[in-house]
Amino acid sequence: MAALLELRDVSKAFGGLQVIDHLNLHVDEGEIVSVIGPNGAGKTTVFNLITGIYHVDSGEIVFEGDKVSGLPPHAITNRGIARTFQTLRLFLNMTVLENVMAAEYGQTKATALEAMLQLPRARREEKRIRKVAEEKLAFFGQRLAGYRHDQPAYSLSYANRRRLEIARAMATNARLLLLDEPAAGMNPHETHEITELIGKLRDDADYSILVIEHDMHVVEGISDRVIALDHGVKIAEGLFDEVATHPLVIEAYLGVRAEAEAV
């Protein structure tokens, strides 16, 4: 079966620094893949390359059999890849509901002129995406429910902001979600919740997921497959147990032990 997402021999350098070095990686339909590695291993860079924020120096990225590297970010998102950010990037001064609806831009067609004159298509689309947005938010149960939809996003707690970012990514109609440290900054209880949620995203909502995570409990709990990166090179790949005990991985982490623990 063809992979949903495939990185073929991708390289990226900033100045003289090789951040990603001939990386090969793939995510299959319905799979949850975790990327681990010490700080500076290039994990987030991989996400930035996939979503088109950075351009690849060489190699190519293929999604559903089509080359997506070289497309602008919004076009890549419209193909079905959406992400969250490690440093939350919500639209803080927009309401919770608007945050989600904004991400549905790619699925609507009505022009500004149609909106001005309130032509039928604009009204129809608006109704539709509002419903979709509410559905996506409903995925998080009571957490993002009800009157909170009209509150500005900045009024949400840290954990809820992470949830809202995921809801926003879902609303783009993505098939593949890239989650950048979804459990960062959460307490054990919330971490547990997010672990379950990621499983639910795959099982109930049919998303394939590529996730960066530092919390090994989360990684262990969700991953079908784990990929370890160090200095932009894939050093191990396989089931969690295999990777976690891989000598290169241990060395990579021990070599920068202090940093790894600090995270």
Binding site: T51, L92, A102, A112, A115, Y154
Partner: protein, 507 residues
């Protein structure tokens, strides 16, 4: 400045028992869930008449709000004469119309465009070229206006292209240069000796150079000429009502959301399927088209276009309107335009200006200071202080009370016994002005009764400076001084403008 000193944020404003107002941007407890739970409670905590008004306003449906904003304007022509209708009414709405477009670029999309008023000029000049005695063409408005709107939109597109690569302050500086370029161009494009020679046509008198392009036709729709101020007034009023309605719809649509997302975080917006570059261009085009349209009206109203009218002075005015009204607030621009254009017009005559000055000072005092007896004490103290100073001065320094207030009416005559009016004021008043600024700044550092106490001499100083210095140049420097001070104060008290919703920004 002094009138604003009284309106500084203090501990007043709320009854002692009321909780801290948490909606001030610096006090927002970011990321605390309880904030949400408290929201209802905070809304209820707004007490008094203002609170009630705000509540009513927030609950009104949008058409009702529009009607309340526009209603007084619709009545205005029937209670005033042509000259006042022009100065207070027509110019205010034209500015509001212009500010609406800027609000899209800066308020919605967050693009700091300092070249905006150039499009206003482009509109006026283009219309002038198509329909004026100067150019010899006399196009009907129903043809000229679409041409102007489309061409200014295209100019907007060109300038907008720079926003693909430049952000924030860099964009600001490039667009500001664009404005300078526009002014230099129209100042010289008269086919004169400094002028360019255009391909194919050679030297052409496009803009009349620094003399301006005059004899612009009145707007002429299908043979119907708008000739009176009233006619232009209603034409503009209807235009702005329509535009506000349309903007309201756009703001709630996918395009409006995308613009705001772009303002909040361009990168996140791009990754969330918003074609950021296209939307930037759209915002620039939208703004430019609005400016072009209002420029056409202005050109027809003025029956001419002159280079200086579209320079930095207007830019500052329009920015002040947008910021005062609240960035991103559609209705706010109307209030902003009313204050920014109306207040200086009132200041034109010095007796009006005097009423306005003392009135606003009193108002600010009573609104900003609580409990009620505090401003009363300050007021009485100031009056007593003034008579004391005046009394002492008339005994020992007769030169200090020798001056007169010219044409001041009753208030003026009363003030002659209270405020010092030295005969030769220029240097004394200069130093007093300096002292007043220092005093107003010091006031912001004081709290409680100390501030009230310090207010007394400061207020007296303010009226001294007003009567001896500021009143001389009410329509010129004074009005801009007040405007500049107002911008600083508003930004410090409410960074999102008076009617804007308070925002947070986490870098």
């Amino acid at each position: 400045m002094s009138s604003l000193g009284g309106g500084q944020p203090g501990e007043g404003g709320l009854p002692a028992a009321a909780p801290e107002p948490v909606d001030a941007p610096d006090r927002v407890k970011v990321g605390v869930d309880e904030w949400v739970a408290e929201a209802e409670g905070r809304r209820a905590a707004r007490s008094g008449l203002t609170g009630a008004l705000v509540r009513v306003w927030e609950r009104l449906p949008a058409p009702a709000r529009l009607a309340i904003l526009i209603g007084p304007f619709a009545i205005f022509p029937f209670i005033t004469n042509e000259g006042n209708l022009y100065r207070y009414g027509l110019i205010t709405i034209i500015y509001a119309l212009l500010a609406l477009g800027l609000n899209v670029v800066v308020g919605f999309a967050g693009l700091l465009d300092l070249g905006y008023v150039a499009f206003f000029g482009v509109g006026a000049y283009l219309y002038g070229i198509m329909a004026s005695g100067h150019s010899g063409h006399h196009l009907q408005a129903e043809i000229a206006i679409p041409i102007v709107v489309i061409s200014t939109a295209l100019f907007g597109l060109l300038l907008g292209l720079t926003s693909w690569r430049l952000l924030g302050d860099y964009l600001a500086i490039v667009t500001l240069f664009f404005l300078q370029a526009f002014v230099i161009f129209v100042n010289n494009a008269n086919g004169g000796l400094n002028d360019f020679s255009y391909p194919f046509v050679g030297k052409v008198d496009l803009t009349g150079g620094s003399n301006g392009l005059d004899q612009i036709d009145p707007l002429n729709f299908f043979g119907y000429h708008i000739t009176t101020t009233k006619g232009y007034y209603f034409f503009t009023l209807i235009s702005i009502t329509l535009l506000m309605t349309m903007l309201y719809f756009v703001n709630g649509s996918r395009t409006g959301r995308a613009w705001r997302a772009l303002r909040e975080d361009p990168l996140a917006a791009e990754v969330m399927s918003v074609p950021v570059n296209r939307l930037k261009l759209l915002a620039f085009m939208f703004g430019a088209a609005t400016a072009g349209f209002s420029g056409t009206i202005y050109g027809a109203v003025q029956s001419g276009a002159f280079p200086g009218d579209y320079d930095v002075g207007l830019l500052i005015t329009i920015y002040a309107i947008v910021i005062l009204g609240g960035l991103g607030s559609i209705g706010g621009v109307v209030i902003g335009a009313l204050v920014v254009n109306g207040a200086p017009e009132l200041l034109r005559s010095s007796s009006n200006a005097r009423f306005l000055f003392y009135g606003v000072l009193l108002l600010a005092l009573f609104i900003a200071m609580r409990p009620w007896y505090k401003p009363v004490v300050v007021l009485l103290g100031t009056i007593a202080f003034g008579f004391a100073v005046h009394g002492i001065a008339s005994a020992v320094w007769s030169r200090g009370t020798a001056g007169h207030i010219e044409g001041g009416g009753q208030l003026g005559r009363a003030l002659e016994h209270w405020v010092l009016l030295p005969r030769n004021t220029s240097s004394i008043a200069g130093w007093a002005y300096f002292a007043l600024i220092v005093a107003a700044l010091v006031l912001t550092l004081l709290r409680g009764w100390w501030r009230a106490l310090a207010l007394i001499p400061t207020l007296y100083l303010a009226s001294f400076v007003w009567e001896n210095k500021l009143v001389e140049q009410v329509s010129g420097a004074t009005r801009l001084i007040l405007l500049g001070g107002l911008l600083v104060v508003i930004m410090n008290v409410r960074p999102s403008g008076i009617f804007g919703t308070s925002r947070v920004e986490i870098a």
